[in-house]
Symmetry: D2
Subunit: 337 residues, 4 copies
Amino acid sequence: MKSDSKPSEPNRAAFGARTDLALEAREMRGGGAIDGVEVSEEEFADGAVKVTWVEIVDENGAKALGKPEGNYVTLESAAMKENDVEAHEEIARILSRQLARLHDLDGEAAVLIVGLGNWNVTPDALGPKVVSKVLVTRHIREYLPENLAGRVRAVSAVAPGVMGLTGIETQEIVKGIVERIRPDMVIAVDALAARKTSRINATIQMSDTSVNPGAGVGNKRAKLDAQSLGVPVVAIGVPTVVDAATLVNDTMERMLGQMLESVPKGADFYEMLQNLAEEDRYSLITEILDPYAGNMFVTPKEVDAVIDRLSNIIANALNIALHPGIGPDDVNRYLNL
Amino acid sequence: MKSDSKPSEPNRAAFGARTDLALEAREMRGGGAIDGVEVSEEEFADGAVKVTWVEIVDENGAKALGKPEGNYVTLESAAMKENDVEAHEEIARILSRQLARLHDLDGEAAVLIVGLGNWNVTPDALGPKVVSKVLVTRHIREYLPENLAGRVRAVSAVAPGVMGLTGIETQEIVKGIVERIRPDMVIAVDALAARKTSRINATIQMSDTSVNPGAGVGNKRAKLDAQSLGVPVVAIGVPTVVDAATLVNDTMERMLGQMLESVPKGADFYEMLQNLAEEDRYSLITEILDPYAGNMFVTPKEVDAVIDRLSNIIANALNIALHPGIGPDDVNRYLNL
Amino acid sequence: MKSDSKPSEPNRAAFGARTDLALEAREMRGGGAIDGVEVSEEEFADGAVKVTWVEIVDENGAKALGKPEGNYVTLESAAMKENDVEAHEEIARILSRQLARLHDLDGEAAVLIVGLGNWNVTPDALGPKVVSKVLVTRHIREYLPENLAGRVRAVSAVAPGVMGLTGIETQEIVKGIVERIRPDMVIAVDALAARKTSRINATIQMSDTSVNPGAGVGNKRAKLDAQSLGVPVVAIGVPTVVDAATLVNDTMERMLGQMLESVPKGADFYEMLQNLAEEDRYSLITEILDPYAGNMFVTPKEVDAVIDRLSNIIANALNIALHPGIGPDDVNRYLNL
Amino acid sequence: MKSDSKPSEPNRAAFGARTDLALEAREMRGGGAIDGVEVSEEEFADGAVKVTWVEIVDENGAKALGKPEGNYVTLESAAMKENDVEAHEEIARILSRQLARLHDLDGEAAVLIVGLGNWNVTPDALGPKVVSKVLVTRHIREYLPENLAGRVRAVSAVAPGVMGLTGIETQEIVKGIVERIRPDMVIAVDALAARKTSRINATIQMSDTSVNPGAGVGNKRAKLDAQSLGVPVVAIGVPTVVDAATLVNDTMERMLGQMLESVPKGADFYEMLQNLAEEDRYSLITEILDPYAGNMFVTPKEVDAVIDRLSNIIANALNIALHPGIGPDDVNRYLNL
């Protein structure tokens, strides 16, 4: 999972702290206009799907949101977690159109899809699950009939695993593969951490900047980006967990806020709490959450089924976006090659 | 999972609130002597395994701990979550001896093992996993050689599923089966909720009272006990999750406590917080945790692997306790029947 | 899985003998007209789905096909194994209409769905997977708004497990549950064995007669039927495996047949082979397949994914047939209750 | 999985042809002395574990067995498939000693463990499962206390996936990683195909020659060996499936042999069958097994549980062989880093 944690923060929760969503980073700043950040919103499917574009245009915006400059597109829809096949197909179509807007997909460009995360940890298995469901064609183009071969782009997909299991920086593995097969671009899919439980498994973020594969031992999380890989990188992520310390922190703040309204005499105490630097308050809570809590995350009960559905949505969106020329029948024909 | 929630608490977290451990219920009362509660502790394996007996001897004790009268034996060992086969075998042996102390296992008594919980939800799959690993013999005794048949008790095992999946009160299903096969006792295995994250997957509780299969829709959770089933019931459980609201509540309290020491001026505010009835504070937090949080739980990252190991420990303990006359070789011979 | 094996055949392959499909039983008799058996065929979805009704009308037919009198409806479509969501929805609709034809589903009748098989053995997990996906309503009707409650039938679902895991005859468990909750009918879903590998995971059979839960230890496989349960039983099954001995037997016969055409001098030998009673030849092969082979089955490589898809098709068909009044949105609303 | 199939054999079963075991290749040649092949046998654990060394010393041996020159060590023990923890630990110890005999493991040499196969296909998931269980240390050595760091070798592990899922030759992926992290040797773990069902999941083969990752689309299966990777390669494999056509072929031959003894008049026919070149007979059977059979394999019912146990045995053997200086306690300490 992605994380902005600095090496100086050893006891960050394993699933990455606070939020990986530009959307929430903005909310944390009050949600109003921010210098260097441009925001636009759209609704689809009669308002069932909300799309927000956050563009960080300069240094100021990057500093304000703690994320690199670039575009961050967020799809939000509660239907994602529900067992509603038609809604999921609609979301996949919307997602594929937004992907094409985010990054021009020249029909010939070869794409490597990288599924980050750990397939043995349900909420972290999103990337590997997508990899197991996308249509890969790089190896079969030569077998295709003339009329199809032209319409099929070379797509490959790998799930490199996490450093805790491989002992290798994920970046090193991806670099090694990119250097050998030389794709024109990389699309990295990962599970993320969010701040609001309502967004868990109900939000998809795409960005054209970079990914920090997370959950490694220590804090070595080398970026996957155009600079490190030498090809453009698009990141697709879904928040599947909330960091336990974040949950406590936010809930407490909101609770004390509510209590104050009724019992103003706590005002000075509340102020004091407010004045505690966000940083300090966060690490104080992390210390209080006993040793094991650093390793705990908050996730919904039905996570196994939901991760399956989400990986279908993203895999379908990628198939539509990357193989416009071919339908499901063709797909089945290849897959059975 | 077990839960003491009353029907008047609709938005209790799906995995049951606060704690299912008598041990923690006692800690919540300060941990000192409680009228009607007798406690004794022992250590095994050079202190690696701690066993605590909590006996609720009367009305007062039951009211104080919010649990029915009876014995609650707790094994605690951090080794449970670790990948340490020898330690797990040792723990299984200790567990089997405690089980024999808790309930006299007459060599002839037929036992039905009931694995409660949902095999599709990792932290709730403990019961069904144990069922898939225990040695069942009820159906094969007639096939056994003379010299073995005498030494093998009739053991059967079922995983009835959860009401959300079956549409049937778990108690109804178990009753129906008990009425047909008439075992001499029932051993119910279930995943529990605890209060301290350090106890998650590191604690096994056995009791001779009852189980409330949890996580049902609404609050219909009919007890499994001697009265409802007509045979003695022993409950074995492992806390695999912490209810999100509980985590927030406890952490906040401890945090404010610490802050007070340094910043006494918050005293009156803190008092106020303290005076907020436990009940009210809990529901206030549950409301604040947005709609979906009721459905969220806190669990460790490596839960899938840990639940596997825990189900091995418990299944082995049951095999040792219920089939003292037979060794692993015999076991394999039957299983291959 | 279903099996017609008699107790006198101890070394039948664990996954049941030759075929559970009335369709194939008929083919084994030459496929022509059989006294006491009536057959009709239909095609749907432009021939993509073939539906065959085999009705065994009397004693003679029952003896000829080795199956009880009654109706056997078979849907065949290669699309079942493919990853083609639209085709699966179409198949689910066709299946639901055939189910309604097979057994009148009075809008009020309470239904118990029984998922037979072992959720730890992929090709045998069909039944339990369907149970985990059907819409159960028995427990939530009282929570539903007036306008819905009337339209929602009481559906419950259980996966009793297999005798090898429970130590209990599956019939005993189901009887116990039926006696307590008294449904108006039982729908049993099970994985089957077929004779032709081309039919594996590409065929769904429904019948209004009975099911023999299979793969038990020894040969105790008590029937689930109207007589044993006291309510009508509809069986839905999919062949997911071919018994290894059957595969060998059929292939050998076809091979020798082909060889004969070119090398007539083998004629008398071939005759001899033909004259070997089917029974004897089968057990000869089973003996030759060494000890473990009785425990082996033949299954496709991608069985895990295919069983998932098949369980979706059947669960959707059941949801459509049993809850005509409600749409997917309603469904999601209940499931989130 | 490994396969010796030549591109000229398109319809070889997906799980590779006849046998990957040098042991069986030798049996197929009658089992007697073969020019260029040296064989020695040993027994351990009172005969419970049989170890066979097959050394192919020259061209002749290589041609005779259809495998490259080198050493092939085979451990055979029925206990592998049984649920017998102690036996598995013993087997792991024996395996680790044989591994050290097969390839000198200089205490400093950095090792990359490659888990071949598809984690979504149970019998093919052995390699990825081993990877998820071995102790990887490459990334944590710098965090270790002085006294340990010296004793811990740099071990890393990857599961590259199969070409059908990645679209990339497995060899390309492994090469890319090897070039970046430059290990001193590669240990590749893979599931294999055997000829005898009795050997399925009861045999472990190690060799110091090469691996052909199998089950790819078409027949592109580039070798992993010292030449292609630039570092020594040790292959560890377990036969988890029997190719369906092989099962038919072998069974038929044995059956006709038996029939002949009683009914000599078939002699000339049998001869004819014998004279049919092995090759031709195999493809004839493959054609007869209808289109889908190429995609079918024969595997035991309890494969899911058995693959888990086998991956434990191999992971433990690797941990013992690669980290002689450290015990399970240390291990747990690192893994919790």
